[in-house]
Symmetry: C2
Subunit: 341 residues, 2 copies
DNA sequence: TTGAAAGCGCTAACAT
DNA sequence: ATGTTAGCGCTTTCAA
């Protein structure tokens, strides 16, 4: 351990310090090839003593291999994505691959930029949220010549491989459960995000199934920004003032659903008999509410794990699963806010 | 735009396609040096048409510059850190630097590993949470020869520069407010995390100030894992059963505080008169609760912004602010759960 | 304004 | 088991 230096150390420094060729030093540090125990120890000791940190840039250029996996998601604030990331990290930790995260804020232009930036580091694979990408993004992904796994959604044509759930189906399932339970006057609340394709697809599936049962959304409202819990509360109050005869509220995420739930409880309204409620995501965070909100889990952890496994497998044996679509099944939890039939 | 290829394109491909030397192509693509408008357009067009993505690995090796800033944090699930990241991204977006995130799960060994991994990509700076690091980590940071900003905490000796709040002081401030408000029988609930130094420091400051006022924590409990909201609820119930005469509950984070709040409200207990409550963090997420929880904000966004600005400035002009400590002032919000004096 | 040559720090592919 | 050589794809530097 020596004092702060301007020039970072190179293999050569370790080579000189240990009296062994650069090549052998390189072999020791990568545990590659046969090196005698004595030499190995000499080298390790020298590297440790100097505080040598290998230069992956040079290594990557020479070997043409980069052990990074680009993970591109819309947001970190959403709860959902950190959980997907956990699944990815967990699986990649057993390999020599490393996730690198990029965030798009649901903006296609930003996605394009982040993707370009990450691809320019020549990662070994890409895991990217959603099936909707700009032409340029699709082109880059196609050109990259690496495994590309699109996650979260399966309603569409994957570039290469997809792992997720069908959000249309998720919307349909929830609508069916609500109709079966006998609710008729249904209100919807969600985020004002034209670019959140998955929320849009859930909404489409939801309204289609309602329509099939002769039901039309009785009221709806979209918000953006602010605290979701507070927004759920406010929107619920406003909507019930506007449309007092609603008997069910479907929220596009659990957080606003929780806000609505708290509001209704304060008003002493009978849940789920007078009004039923449901959200989406099965956010564990919210366990501990006065009543468990009906919800539908999006298989976040499993999606991350599966995607990572696919990338890892393709890197290991080059097995080509291209075109594969892994469609997971979301499960509905009725909680205490969706009345039994 | 052409079909998927095995070998990624190189500058040479663009050079040949545009009939211009590699060197000039390089200049165009980096907007460096003088290139005639005609040539520039020719090159741009060729690059676009081929779908060329520059190889940053080669570029970085040649130029000895990498526009990445390593950001090392304990967790993404904590709410707090995504917000710090927002502050960092926001500021770095106006520069040519890019954040790259690594997660340590509060484990020193993992921090060491992540740090080593990231430093081996030769980033232009490091932003790392906390002031407590292993000897090896400190050595690497010192050796790296790049700006190092330790964030979140200012109670300790920074390696280079620190930006954060004093958690000891935060604990003291909260204790003072509670004592002033006349509460006497105080219970504490927190996470069982010996390695969360900031939580520990808050607790120390808190108990010290109580002691100074002749008060000792009347009961305390630590949890790990599970949903924080549910844990807050359960622990509150258990603690009040065990120690019924408590008149104040201090929670080490807002999420468990919210759980406690919901429980007490259901029990019809008068908050803040019969029992007062306070959390920590000022999580915006929780606005919308029946009562606003007293809390103390940790200046998360500002910490991120300031840290990023320091790294960016040092990269721009090499100005050396080493040893600087930026100590931000957390503000106490009394909410509705801490009675006025 | 453009081009040619020489490396950046490492590893693949061959020696030995 | 160890060493030598020749690049990886760019950018820096110097020349034209």
């Amino acid at each position: 351990m020596q004092t702060r230096s301007k020039r970072p150390l190179t293999l050569r420094d370790v080579s000189e310090a240990s009296g062994v060729s650069e090549m052998t030093v390189s072999r020791v540090l990568r545990n590659k090839g046969d090196v005698s125990a004595v030499t190995r120890e000499k080298v390790r000791e020298a590297a440790r003593r100097l505080g040598y940190v290998p230069n992956k840039i040079a290594g990557a250029l020479a070997s043409q291999r980069v052990n990074l996996v680009a993970v591109i998601i819309p947001s970190l604030g959403n709860m959902v994505f950190p959980e997907v990331l956990s699944g990815i990290s967990e699986v990649l930790e057993d390999t020599d691959l490393q996730p690198v995260v990029g965030v798009t804020d649901y903006q296609p232009e930003k996605e394009e930029k982040v993707l370009f930036e990450m691809l320019s580091w020549r990662p070994s694979g890409v895991i990217i949220a959603g099936l909707e990408h700009s032409e340029a993004s699709r082109a880059m992904l196609l050109q990259a010549g690496i495994p590309v796994v699109e996650i979260m959604d399966t309603d569409g044509e994957p570039i290469d491989t997809a792992v997720g759930i069908s959000h249309r189906r998720a919307g349909r399932m929830m609508a069916e459960a609500i109709v079966e339970a006998g609710y008729k006057r249904i209100g919807f609340m969600g985020t004002k995000m034209p670019l959140d394709h998955r929320a849009r697809k859930r909404f489409e599936g939801f309204t289609q199934t309602l329509a099939k049962n002769g039901i039309e959304i009785a009221d709806q409202e979209f918000y953006s920004g602010g605290s979701a819990l507070a927004k759920g509360r406010e929107m619920t109050e406003a909507m019930l003032k506007r449309t007092p005869d609603l008997d069910f509220l479907y929220f596009s995420n659990d957080m606003i659903g929780a806000g609505g739930l708290l509001y209704l409880q304060e008003q002493g309204i009978d849940i789920p008999n007078k009004i039923g409620l449901a959200g989406f995501n099965g956010v564990e965070l919210l366990e501990g509410l006065p009543k468990r909100l009906a919800s539908m889990d999006a298989c976040r952890l499993e999606i991350g794990q599966t995607a990572a496994r696919i990338v890892a497998a393709r890197n290991a044996d080059g097995a080509s699963d291209e075109g594969q679509v892994v469609d997971l099944s979301p499960t509905l939890s009725r909680g205490d806010t969706l009345r039994k039939i």
